[in-house]
């Protein structure tokens, strides 16, 4: 069968979004998503490569060409079904994946033109399904009688729970906070990932039969060993919740937040709706966020929405080394975030009320690449200067919470408290205990956490059948 060569459309179909001047005054999602017509037009840009590299670029290996083809044909139900074969949370990953480093980065078009907008189309398919009403529950196998405890209801935990209930196992999900979703609810802001989507996904897993136990702190209310008395296997998807600080003078002044605290107040506790909600947050006029990742972009953009006149990103390397998703940096720039690049804070200075008033910084130049492959910042002597601020957010990284390792003596951890796992199975050093997501990587992406969850669910199912470790 001969195929007519496709006409190349060089640019992505633009996705309509809220204009920057308007959106910085509200908390609503920035992009509106594609219309069916836009989605079909965009899906038709796919070259249908004989060897599709996009699938290799996807951490959960979604059959991308197949779903694009169905979108192009207008078969949206067919498209979402293909995505859901390997991805339990498409509405989430379509919004938060760094597609430019994954599927879209591998797209044959991307060498000379813009890649196919795989992420936007994934999001479209998932949103289309949600618009069709509550999805039906698939036929489930008879109960196996095996019980699994999933600790943490973030992307890794939800994925594991969804896969294991579909195998007929009993799954209980334990969440330390009062809302399920982990980083998807406490970290990622509403304007980037609406919480209704997270709730919908968790509800679906519960409708499949998983049980959700909120406000339950494993490691405190019950240890992993106690869970193992009742459950046949335990999956740890507890994330990387321990925020890092710079260890420089003035870091404990009022007005200096970890990004975890700042975003948790704003998102989980809904401080942006204070005083309707009781939790307060400092509404700074001049806010500086330290860091160059997605969390930093989220914090700086949240500050604008909380009324900041000026929101600044302070990052020690250059624009090129910033680890944030391209779209987040783009959105931040559109919204007027100021970037102080090649800049490292060295101290915080207080006003007479012990509230932060200035960040003292030093300028850097780029040196040789470091272990991460990015060029190392080298301080320029005597280049100190001060930035006037009234709120500072530190978004410089985090590591796993030590609560569970501390109460589970035979669970081996590496540097920074990362739980050591076998990469193919998620098996930890402790029999019956699996782990995946940020607790095992130290901090990566939502999709990698879901990919590890997939592998762990498969291995847990295997273990429940064979008891082989």
């Amino acid at each position: 069968m001969s195929k007519k060569p496709k006409q190349i459309i060089p640019k992505k179909t633009p996705m309509p979004e809220q204009p920057p001047a308007e959106r910085i005054k509200n908390y609503n999602e920035v992009p509106y998503g594609y219309t069916p017509e836009q989605a079909i037009a965009e899906a038709k840009r796919c070259l249908e490569c004989a060897r599709p590299l996009c699938v290799e670029g996807c951490p959960v290996n979604i059959n991308i060409p197949a779903f694009l083809k169905l979108v192009a044909e207008g078969d949206f139900r067919g498209a979402i079904n293909i995505i859901k074969e390997t991805n339990a949370l498409p509405a989430v990953s379509g919004r938060v994946c760094p597609q430019e480093e994954q599927c879209e980065g591998k797209c044959a078009l991307s060498k000379r033109f813009e890649s196919v907008a795989v992420g936007r189309l994934e999001r479209f398919a998932a949103d289309w399904e949600a618009s069709q009403g509550t999805p039906p529950i698939p036929d489930l196998p008879p109960p196996t009688g095996k019980k699994v405890a999933v600790v943490g209801s973030g992307p890794a935990g939800i994925t594991v729970a969804a896969d294991l209930v579909r195998k007929g196992h009993h799954v209980s999900i334990f969440e330390a906070l009062h809302e399920p979703g982990g980083v998807l609810v406490y970290g990622i802001p509403e304007f980037r990932l609406p919480k209704a989507i997270v709730r919908r996904e968790v509800e679906y897993v519960c409708r499949l039969g998983a049980k959700l136990v909120k406000d339950f702190v494993v490691g405190a209310a019950e240890t992993v060993d106690e869970l193992l008395e009742e459950y046949d296997a335990v999956f740890l998807g507890t994330g990387a919740g321990l925020p890092w600080f710079l260890n420089i003078p003035g870091e404990n002044l009022n007005g200096v937040y970890s990004a975890n605290e700042y975003l948790t107040r704003a998102n989980l506790m809904k401080a942006y709706r204070f005083p309707e909600y009781d939790t307060p947050i400092a509404r700074g006029k001049h806010v500086a966020t330290v860091g160059g990742g997605n969390v930093a972009m989220d914090s700086a953009r949240t500050a604008l929405r909380l009324g900041a006149e000026e929101s600044i990103i302070v990052y020690r390397r250059s624009h090129e080394e910033m680890p944030a998703r391209a779209e987040e940096i783009h959105h931040a720039e559109q919204e007027g975030i100021r970037f102080e690049l090649l800049t490292t804070p060295v101290a915080f200075h207080a006003d007479s009320n012990n509230w932060v008033k200035e960040i003292e910084c030093i300028r850097n130049q780029l040196g040789e690449p470091d272990a991460s492959g990015r060029r190392r910042p080298v301080p320029i002597k005597d280049s100190n200067f001060r930035i006037p601020v009234d709120v500072v957010v530190l978004a410089i990284g985090q590591s796993p919470n030590p609560l569970i390792p501390k109460t589970t003596p035979d669970l081996k951890t590496a540097k920074d408290g990362v739980v050591i796992i076998d990469n193919e199975t998620g098996k930890t050093s402790k029999k019956g205990v699996f782990a995946g997501g940020d607790v095992a990587t130290g901090g990566a992406t939502v999709i990698l956490a879901m990919g590890q969850g997939k592998k762990a669910a498969k291995a847990i199912d295997e273990y429940l059948k064979t008891r082989q470790w």
Binding site: A176, Y186, F216, A221, E251, N252, S258, N260, P275, P280
Partner: protein, 293 residues
């Protein structure tokens, strides 16, 4: 005979609840102990079965409320109940103070924080003020069980702000009371009572203080010249209570610690009190706004 309904539920029961909700934590009783000081008792069998002196819970009165830490004042492992004493100061504690028996709490999570270190030290003074009068009761009880000579020292502005003297008497060898207006007791405050104790020839091996920040600071300053080991239960602002947000960071011996997971108990002679006092006041403006709405 044991009432069957009050026996701790089995593990199976505890997790076999509604698929989405773990089952609300219900209020068993709430009473005013003194003006602005409330005692809240809830049914929380898992926490009751685990909790140790010095630990705390994170509480949220309703879906709009803040998450606030409350030190526990008592528990009943058989009945599965946990009690906290709190002072009504802001919106969140005001809401808690309006709860009635049978009401549900949105969050009651724990037990959090490290248990207080307990041993047989000899003579131990447990000092409590405000909500801490309640919190020192299980501490006194546990120290007494370990064979210590326990002196409970409670303080308040006036007699009518004190409570639980009877309970403390049952758990202590001696109860000393000090009031700012001398409506009861010999001394105006805790530090004066400590000085009196030492003057009378009493040897103090350790002091444990729970209460408002200023009271704990004063107690630590009172014992410093005598090098009496002094443990304080710090009460900074918290959100999650599990080490995730860092709001509760305190400086102890020049090092930043998270009160929620590294504490809440620290050596009072090593705490940076100025920092703690200023961080506790961070939201005084907004808190008032939220209360006035």
């Amino acid at each position: 005979m044991v009432d069957q309904t009050t026996i701790k539920t089995s593990k199976e029961d505890r997790h076999s609840k509604d698929p989405v909700e773990p089952g609300p934590v219900t209020v068993l009783a709430r009473e005013q102990l003194a003006p602005n000081l409330q005692l809240l008792t809830v049914r929380a069998p898992i926490i009751a079965s685990k909790i140790q002196p010095g630990q705390f819970v994170i509480v949220r009165a309703d879906e709009y409320a803040e998450r606030i830490p409350l030190t526990v004042a008592d528990w009943d492992r058989e009945k599965g109940s946990v009690s906290c004493v709190f002072m009504q100061v802001g919106t969140s504690t005001y809401k808690l103070g309006k709860l009635k028996s049978g009401d549900a709490l949105s969050t009651f999570a724990g037990p959090l924080g490290k248990p207080l270190e307990l041993d047989r030290w000899g003579t131990v003074v447990v000092a409590g003020g405000c909500y801490g009068i309640g919190s020192i009761y299980p501490v006194a009880r546990a120290l007494k069980e370990r064979g210590n000579r326990v002196i409970s020292l409670i303080e308040g502005r006036s007699k009518f702000l004190l409570y639980w003297l009877d309970r403390l008497e049952s758990a202590s060898d001696k109860v000393l009371v000090s009031t700012r207006d001398r409506s009861i007791g010999r001394n105006r405050d805790g530090p004066a009572a400590i000085k009196d104790l030492l003057d009378s020839g009493e040897h103090i091996d350790r002091l444990i203080a729970i209460g408002c920040t200023f009271m704990m600071y004063q107690m630590a300053e009172a014992t410093r010249p005598f090098a009496i080991k002094t443990i304080v239960s710090l009460n900074p602002i918290m959100i999650d209570g599990t080490g995730m947000c860092g709001a509760c960071r305190v400086s102890v011996a020049g090092q930043t610690k998270f009160a929620c997971v590294d504490g809440p108990d620290f050596d009072g002679h090593q705490v940076d009190w100025k920092l703690l006092l200023s961080r506790r006041k961070a939201y005084l403006g907004p808190e008032t706004d939220s209360g006035e709405r």
